[in-house]
């Protein structure tokens, strides 16, 4: 693998990490804490929306994020030939 490709792999990883952490922060610190009172004006089934994010929604987002990142990185590893057989 050339040096350019090595750097491209790492940059692609850093971009996906930044994306994951942006959504991570938006779901927890954003929807679950800072915006929770405003979101409570909306209802999701029986839940005030802000309360739902704080007690369930943020955690579900976390789970989905990690599995998306796993798939993303496996694809990236394959594309750059660093996938472990």
């Amino acid at each position: 693998m050339t040096q350019d490709k090595r750097e491209a792999y790492w940059r692609a990883n850093l971009r996906s990490i930044a994306g994951v952490l942006a959504i991570w922060a938006a779901a927890s610190f954003g929807a679950g804490i800072l915006l929770a009172d405003r979101l409570d004006a909306f209802r999701l089934f029986g839940f005030p929306l802000g309360f739902w994010f704080a007690t369930q929604g943020a955690m579900l987002v976390f789970v989905a994020l990690v599995f998306v990142y796993v798939r993303w990185m496996n694809a990236l590893d394959r594309r750059f030939g660093v996938y472990e057989e």
Binding site: F67, Y69, E84
Partner: protein, 578 residues
């Protein structure tokens, strides 16, 4: 058979299961002992990590905190799960690529310094030891209440069990025992939650029942009108008694943000969790294993707010305004442990709850909610026994994982890493088992004579883990220029800020421990977030002011980034490394 009989049966059966698995899977080599020979499937590893992670605090205390604080308590839910996102993207795959046994060993190699390794070892030992004492204490409480033993006998039994399989079995033994413990604790948490959820809302899934409407029977149990949303009924009852609304937050936002961040970062910095990712065969397994661990943890954590809501409703309904002579049986049983207490302030012989401390007559420790809610809802006796077995599984599995970190820190990092590098594998294994045994005895001593409450001690452990390890590990992986001097200064500064703040408000001036005196309104639980920032800032500045790390260290950092290294690329990398 009554609750005590069922508890004996279920606890004895679960302990027998753990002992059998431990014997069958006991460690035979050093790699077995520290990292289970790196042969654990990621799903199995995720499940074991889930049990390792979910301690007596997750099982008992978390829903209790939520029951009393409502939405503000969600800092624990988000904090203790959000850390796994950080682990998956920032730490687990890179530390697995590094491929050795302990976290301090990584710190020592990455920062080319035995002193850095020694500092990191001391941090790991302090964090793990405070945490293990809390677990042993929690297990002792459960044994005392449900088996009606003296608390000292409970602690001794807990220690004997943990000693047996952690000390002898090592990482390989505890991993497979933890899989069994995960299954026991999740069944024990969900069965009563499902039964209560169906009873109150007709929906068997607790997380959905929480948002559901009350059934006839449920409304009668809670003493409210049927057909209302459970959450609305709780909010109304909370407002009536001055307890605050369950779905609303009352704490300052900045403090909730800081506390959540400190718990997330602390989670990602806890050595007993990080080393789990050393046990899987491949780098991509480390990422996947973090996802599975989080999923298995979320199964319990998404049910916890429902258990909290049910417990809060049932507590009020079975206690408020009831004459003490007619107090329910769970109330009397827990009064004997001192975790539930009644003071008849207005002399009317009835128990009254209030948000106003001067009028509140009933004190219920948060830990009681999960353990007592099956009895509050009058579920059958076997459910009560099941909850006790689950709480024990949660406490024991975490204690075992922590003892292993203490054993490895002592034998691998201090004895072989610093004091006697020429030690044989066999002798090192002996030191590891001896250290685990000594730590178990020490934990037993502190569990019988706790220096503070369980929650207090655990909160300090998180703050220390966050402000010591996390920045040093992340910057060590992502920034080649981070230097030895920077790491040592950063760890020292982070630890100093966090422990000074905690000591000041908790021990030196507990009378000042309130939002009006806190710096920026940040509580001692949230100060770890600030300690982390201080650590990272000091590390960065000092690194830039000191000479760059040697070339082989920069090559080590570069190599962590690639799961597999094609041969020609290695030469290219080293020739262009800065």
């Amino acid at each position: 058979m009554g609750p005590i009989g069922w508890t004996w049966v279920l606890v004895a059966a679960s302990f027998g299961l753990y002992a059998g698995i431990a014997l069958y899977t006991r460690a035979r080599s050093l790699a077995d002992y520290y990292v289970a020979d790196r042969a654990v499937h990621p799903v199995v590893s995720g499940m074991a990590t889930g049990a390792d992670w979910m301690s007596a605090a997750s099982f008992m205390s978390m829903a209790g905190i939520l029951a009393f604080t409502g939405r503000d308590g969600s800092a624990y839910l988000m904090g203790w799960t959000g850390g796994y996102v950080l682990l998956a993207v920032l730490l687990a795959p890179y530390l697995r690529k590094y491929g050795k046994y302990t976290v301090p060993q990584f710190v020592g190699d990455r920062y080319y310094s035995r002193s850095a390794r020694a500092v990191a070892t001391v941090c790991a030992l302090v964090v793990s030891f405070t945490y293990v004492a809390a677990q042993v204490r929690g297990v002792g409480i459960v044994l005392a209440r449900f088996l009606e033993l003296p608390i000292g006998a409970g602690v001794v039994i807990a220690l004997a069990i943990v000693f047996f399989y952690a000390v002898l079995g090592g990482m390989k033994g505890i991993t497979y025992v933890q899989v069994a413990q995960y299954l026991v604790l999740i069944v024990a948490f969900l069965v009563p939650a499902v039964l209560v959820s169906r009873l109150l809302t007709g929906n068997p899934i607790p997380a959905l029942g929480l948002g559901g409407r009350l059934t006839e029977g449920g409304a009668a149990l809670l003493g409210v009108t049927p057909g209302r949303h459970l959450l609305d009924a709780l909010d109304a009852v909370g407002a009536d008694l001055g307890l605050g609304r369950f779905t609303a937050g009352a704490r300052p936002r900045l403090d909730v943000v800081a506390t959540t961040a400190a718990l997330m970062i602390g989670t990602a910095g806890l050595p007993h969790i990080i080393i789990r990712f050393f046990t899987v065969p491949k780098i991509r397994d480390a990422r996947a294993s973090a996802g599975w661990a989080l999923l298995f943890i979320a199964v319990l954590y998404t049910a916890a707010p429902a258990v909290a809501a049910f417990g809060r409703g049932l507590l009020v309904a079975t206690v408020e305004g009831v004459p003490h002579t007619e107090a329910p049986s769970w109330f009397r049983a827990w009064e004997q442990t001192g975790l539930v207490a009644w003071t008849d302030r207005n002399g009317d012989g009835r128990m009254q709850l209030s948000g106003d401390p001067a009028r509140n007559e009933v004190r219920v420790d948060g830990d009681v909610i999960v353990l007592a809610h099956p009895e509050m809802a009058r579920l059958p006796a076997w459910v009560v026994g099941l909850v006790a077995a689950g709480a024990l599984a949660a406490g024991l599995s975490t204690a075992a994982g922590l003892l292993l970190v203490i054993a490895a820190g002592f034998s691998h990092d201090l004895v072989r890493g610093v004091a006697a590098p020429r030690l044989s594998d066999r002798a090192e294994l002996g030191w590891a088992r001896g250290a685990a045994a000594a730590a178990a005895l020490g934990a037993g001593y502190f569990a019988l004579r706790p220096p503070g409450s369980v929650a207090e001690v655990v909160a300090i452990a998180f703050g220390l883990a966050a402000s010591s390890f996390f920045p040093v590990l992340v910057l060590g992986i992502f920034w080649r220029r981070a230097t030895r001097e920077g790491a040592i200064a950063g760890m020292a500064a982070g630890l100093l800020v966090t422990s000074a703040y905690v000591l000041w408000f908790r021990h030196l001036h507990p009378e000042l421990n309130g939002p009006e005196h806190w710096w920026l309104g940040i509580s001692p639980e949230g100060i770890g977030a600030l300690g982390t920032l201080v650590n990272a800032a000091v590390l960065t500045v000092v690194s830039l002011a000191t000479p760059a790390p040697p070339r082989e260290v920069q090559e080590l950092v570069a190599s962590l980034r690639y799961p597999r290294e094609p041969a020609p690329a290695r030469a290219a990398a080293s020739s262009r490394a800065r």
